[in-house]
Symmetry: C2
Subunit: 470 residues, 2 copies
């Protein structure tokens, strides 16, 4: 259903160059993937730095004024193309992140997560390894598009600043201070963010609303020391029992989140948006089938797209306590722990919800238990103003490249940087990416379709061309 | 409150020898403790064998016909003293276990668990290290008592078989087959088991009823793979949520266990026993205070002693699922796990309860989750017939040795071997031991009071003397 646009010989030459150079593009991506830049685990700190250095070297080689920029956490990469704003082309800030998720459980990977390879999956070639899709493969689609424009025309068709983060998978502690300290340098007309997915096979999408996030860790303490359940079982309060009681009550019988005030200020989506989402033909069972599920688990009176795009959620992301090794240990543990995340939508304030959550949990502690909270960060949801012309330029470029026409959609994930670009730099963000639901991001055996990578590069090349012509 | 008994110059000489030799006795115990015989972890298999060999060498040196006996799991130690039954003295089988619990969390130990030392705790000397109390220190009290009798009189005053197990902390998989295969060799008139504790400071006890045990491991599976909670959170069922729901419902609001049929056949204790337990002056708050608790957590209408001795219980001993490392991972996991143990009392059938538990859990699975069970073993509760004269001999010997008079009590822990001695070999067991509530068995910084060790040796020396005179 692509719209036919006027032929552009320069763009055609750039696209042809991309096709011819694909093997080299893929090899450059795999070189980046070999660096295990797991940002949440301090054991990999030097690898995170190394990944930033690899990118700076590559961008400098393309003529960018590129540098590794220190923070109190992991470094940022900032690279400026030539300032050609005088030509009338807009200035865009491209964002991606070069850090990756941890790889455990390692035994479920069928090969080394940091030794990437191209192999077949379901009959099509994929790039396999940690970060293939999230987000090294996606950020390289943009860099490769720039490389192709430079190779064919000797310059970039628009003014581009590349801004790459190394803390996206660990709560971005340095992001806000860095944006504030470098606001003038980083402010462009609009941001391009490549960390999202296709809507469906062959159907690209631009995300115009994103859920925010609140991350909590709680520790329930009962006895002062681990006890023998033979001696104390039955008389001493077990903190796992208390923690399970709290977590079992996190959702009510209808699937709604029980924290008081959780839904205060949560808006209903507009009738227009509801109609356009209905037109997407989303079927929950079809969405769930590839991961072995069939039954939507959210609020009973909501559609599947509302559950993943416009309704807030609570999930337990991790739980641990007592003896978890081989065999058995009849311990009655002193402590039990859980990591819990809330996906937030417009109207929800992370700070207020953090307080409500702490109060709600604390009120459930029996006399002999106490609870400690570790706040792991929060971010508000984002809603884009789609009236800036670049939204239409991008929609057109994506529709030209892909079999299906590009849609404006919501996203259940949190990309807090889009909110910070708006609140700190005053920029809206165009969120376009080429991931697929079966990419297994954050999971064992992550992959990125070679076609996603190839068409992704071509997509950004078209967007850059559209900016020059705008 | 000791009963005054007639002087026995031979016994006095044996006791004096024990006093004089205490430093050597302690050094022999610490040599055994240096062998990290953790039976539940295959990484320590060769250490378990080594501990058995150390004991066989020691017993052989005392004139026992001692051997390491292979099983399909960890070996048994069997050692026979001279058969002097013709003299009219009874044949006793002494039981202890030379394996120990795992040591995690290792960071909470203030020294190497397997590098024992004598140090002060609360103003009294203690032997510090894994196994000090459970059960290496306790089993060595008996061996040291035998050593003293041999040293002073050149022989043992009764016919003794020593039987030491290396799988007590890992479910004793080889015990029943070994008892069945060697029933004739191991059957004595009565068993002496040293794996229990004092009732209170200076007050020894003989346990006449023991809880049994049922151990379960469950794994709840939701999605086929770990999912990203941004993409699937809100629509995909989280197995941690389901597991927490099951475990939160394991106890009702009154503290009773919810598994159907759990209390079928559970007897009330006799009025006599209830009166004698009341006379012990047990105060739940006093019992709980040393571990930082104050509020009995069991069935609301039961006394503290019932909660730990005569009522069945359910405890979650371990729980794990999702991401449990440093930082945060917004994973919606495929699986969540828990280890659960039930303490059983007379009248409860582990096999029936296993089935009831599995049925009860399975019935709670939502459409998109499945549950797997790993049965980790079970044993019935035990109740002793205290009419055999050795119960009174032991009660007298303990009352002579300790400041307080010995009491017949219950025990909340499981010592399945006592049940198997009864069911397979037809023997009752005299359970007497010298552990203290603050020994931190199964916990970091385990210890055994030097006084427990010293008086424990003297106690068994008196029991052996009592057997000779009986």
């Amino acid at each position: 259903m692509s719209v036919v646009t006027a032929a552009d010989p320069t763009l055609d030459a750039v696209l042809a160059h991309i096709d011819a150079d694909l093997d080299h593009s893929t090899e450059r991506l795999m070189a980046l993937m070999r660096v295990p830049s797991i940002s949440t685990d301090p054991a990999y700190d030097s690898d995170v730095v190394r990944a930033a250095e690899v990118l700076v070297a590559d961008l400098a080689g393309l003529g960018f004024d590129a540098s590794v920029r220190q923070t109190t956490g992991h470094p940022m990469v900032v690279a400026h193309g030539d300032d050609i704003s005088a030509n009338g082309t807009p200035h865009v800030l491209f964002y991606g992140h070069y850090d990756v998720q941890p790889v455990d459980p390692l035994e479920l990977w069928h090969r080394d997560p940091f030794d990437p390879v191209i192999e077949e999956q379901n009959g099509v070639p994929v790039i396999r390894g940690r970060g293939a899709s999230d987000d090294k493969g996606q950020l390289m689609t943009f860099i490769e598009a720039c490389r192709a424009w430079k190779a064919v025309t000797g310059k970039l068709p628009a003014r581009v600043t590349v801004f790459l983060e190394g803390e996206e998978e660990s709560g971005s502690p340095s992001l806000v201070p860095f944006l504030k300290a470098n606001a003038e340098e980083l402010t462009a007309e609009v941001a391009l963010i490549c960390d999202t997915g296709l809507f469906a096979e062959g159907v690209p999408a631009i995300v115009t609303q994103l859920r925010g996030m609140l991350q909590e860790e709680i520790t329930v303490t009962g006895p002062a020391v681990d006890l023998h359940s033979g001696m104390f079982g039955g008389i001493a309060m077990n903190p796992i029992r208390v923690l399970c009681g709290v977590l079992a009550g996190l959702h009510d019988a209808n699937g709604a989140v029980s924290v008081p005030g959780f839904y205060d200020g949560v808006p209903e989506i507009s009738d227009d948006l509801r109609a356009s989402w209905e037109a997407l033909g989303f079927v929950s069972e079809t969405f769930l089938a590839p991961v072995g599920l069939s039954d939507p688990a959210g609020e009973a009176d909501r559609t599947g797209l509302e559950m993943i795009w416009s309704r807030p959620t609570a999930e337990v992301n991790g739980i641990w306590g007592g003896y978890t090794g081989a065999g058995f240990k009849t311990v009655l543990p002193s402590k039990a722990h859980a990591k819990i995340s809330f996906r937030l939508v417009a109207g929800q304030d992370p700070e207020r919800l953090h307080k409500n959550f702490c109060d709600w949990v604390s009120a459930q502690m029996p006399a002999d238990c106490s609870v400690e909270f570790k706040a792991l960060g929060g971010s508000r949801a984002s809603q884009m103003d789609t009236s800036h012309p670049i939204f239409e330029i991008t929609r057109q470029a994506l529709s030209d490249e892909w079999p299906g026409e590009a849609a404006f959609i919501g996203c259940g994930g949190s990309i807090p940087v889009a909110g910070f670009f708006k609140s700190i730099l005053g920029m809206d963000s165009v969120l376009a990416g080429f991931g697929k639901e079966d990419d297994a991001i954050h999971s064992p055996n992550e992959k990125y379709d070679v076609q996603s990578f190839h068409r992704g590069i071509r997509s950004w090349a078209r967007v850059l061309g559209g900016l020059a012509a705008s």
